[in-house]
Amino acid sequence: MIDVLLTAIAYSSGLALAAAGITIIYMSTGTFNFAHASFTAWGFYVVFSLFSLMKGSPYYYMILGGLFGGVLGIATYYIVNRWLLRAGADMVTLMMSTLGVDLVLFAAINIFADYLTYTYHFNPRLFVLSSYDFKLGSLYGIPVSGIVLVSIIIVVIIIAILQLFLTRTKMGIAMRATIENAMLATVLGINPELIYVLSWFLGGFLGGLGGAILSLLFTGTPNIGMLLIVPEFAASIVGGLYSVFGSLLGGFLIGISQKVGIALLGKWLGGWIIVYEPLIPLLIMAVTLLIYPKGLGGLPWGKIYKRLFKGGE
């Protein structure tokens, strides 16, 4: 069970980052980005292809996976999203257009996989990078992979950077202002388009980085995005869609319940249940929203913090 928990932690970290990316893009542009899991899938492929070409350690290429996701985000903005925003498109249109982007990215991954196959004779349609991970040691006889610790460190660093960026830099403050009231920000001289590009970059970066982390956990295939899209969205929605912090929490709630839940169910009910694993994130999402309709980000965290650490009010 410990190994399940360890995997669940690393999985949740990747998921949390990707979900935070969805939330950032949604908050500032109102676009529910269906192509997000393809950004994540590209994170897998950036790490895989660079590692296969240049060796070393998969960790060297993680940040590039994130940056590539950021570039995909910017491209999506400039090629598709920007024009629709300018025309005042509604939420459904914005969302549907990203479905188109998703199809293009999915096709591009397959083309890239063929390219790697024919040019370099790699195996891009089924790859396992976890065997190149380092070992941290063992816990009750179970070996602990490096990614468990690294993924958590990355999440902590990203939280710190985002927090600093959003509250200490003028650009970050302008971003929050645009999210709260774009029209008002505009009449004060803040160019909303700059904020939109930045959001797409940040969102894409987190999507790609999430994928880079997950590439050390799961078998890579061109279809990996399809496996991840549901838990990514579930995490973002559970988080309340209007809170980056909430979606990070959502990532952990969804990720841990998915991995631990399916292991327990498999033990109790038998292996046949395993194929229903993708249902767990949706169930957790539904239950959480029934209890907290505004999602985890809508909870009074300030008060909870005071209760927990300052002994009541």
């Binding site: 403050i173 929050r176 202002a177 709260e180 008002l184 004060l188 001289g189």
Partner: protein
């Protein structure tokens, strides 16, 4: 005559197919307070929207310091110095007082003068200094209006467009707001003031335009307008 800071020439504008403004001609002279007065739905806010670029006119020209800015987007107009204090003291409830002031000085021109502006604003509104780390959404109505004005001053306006700054405030706060406007004039700020409070506006304004159903029906220096038959009957009730 000097060149007006802001000039609207023959503006026709509206929403969808509904025309709201019919041939508006206005000038805002440097260092003066120009009031645009009229009742609900006359088109005052619409006029300001055209001036800031949130709404593009169907025809007509918007000039800033004698250059045509009709096609300039709102964020660039703020950069050159056309700054608005929007209707209903619009703030960002989840940003702090200080963050509002920082964003007020977002443009490059304003950023260079950030510290001077901050001193000025804290001097005008000492309460904002005390409350600089408070979220704007938790300020009182009067404080919110002061913050909205303070934020706009941080932008170093060359012309300040104020949309009904006294709306919804208790009488003593209304007086407070007009005192601030008077102080701003002493500092040499050029202001276009939109108001329904005709009486108070006539006290501070140098030049007045009366807007009715989207048309300017009367204009003149405020002493003349104050004494005109029409204003006495329709707006001042004397």
């Amino acid at each position: 005559m000097t060149v007006p800071v802001l000039e609207l020439n023959n503006i026709e504008a509206g929403y969808g197919r509904v025309q709201v403004l019919w041939g508006i001609n206005m000038k805002v002279e440097k260092g003066s307070i120009t009031a645009l007065l009229g009742s609900n739905g006359a088109g005052k806010t619409t006029t300001l929207r055209v001036a800031t670029g949130i709404l593009y006119p169907w025809s007509g020209i918007v000039k800033f310091e004698n250059t045509d800015v009709t096609n300039l987007p709102p964020s660039s107009r703020a950069e050159v110095g056309i700054v608005m204090v929007p209707e209903g003291r619009r703030l960002w409830p989840k940003l702090t007082v200080y963050e509002h002031l920082e964003l007020g000085a977002y443009s490059k021109r304003a950023k260079e003068k950030f510290h001077d502006s901050l001193d000025l604003v804290y001097q005008l509104f000492p309460r904002l200094k005390e409350r600089k780390n408070q979220l704007a959404g938790t300020l009182s109505g009067g404080e919110q209006q002061m913050l909205a004005i303070a934020r706009s001053l941080m932008s170093r306006p060359k012309v300040l467009l104020m949309d009904e700054p006294s709306l919804g405030l208790a009488p003593h706060l209304v007086i407070e707001v007009f005192k601030v406007i008077d102080k701003l004039r002493e500092l040499g700020t050029t202001i276009l003031l939109v108001e329904q409070n005709v009486y108070m506006s006539l006290q501070v304004a140098d030049y007045v335009y009366i807007l009715e159903n989207g048309r300017i029906t009367l204009e003149g220096i405020s002493e003349e307008v104050k004494d005109s038959e029409k204003i006495r009957k329709a707006y001042l009730g004397i």
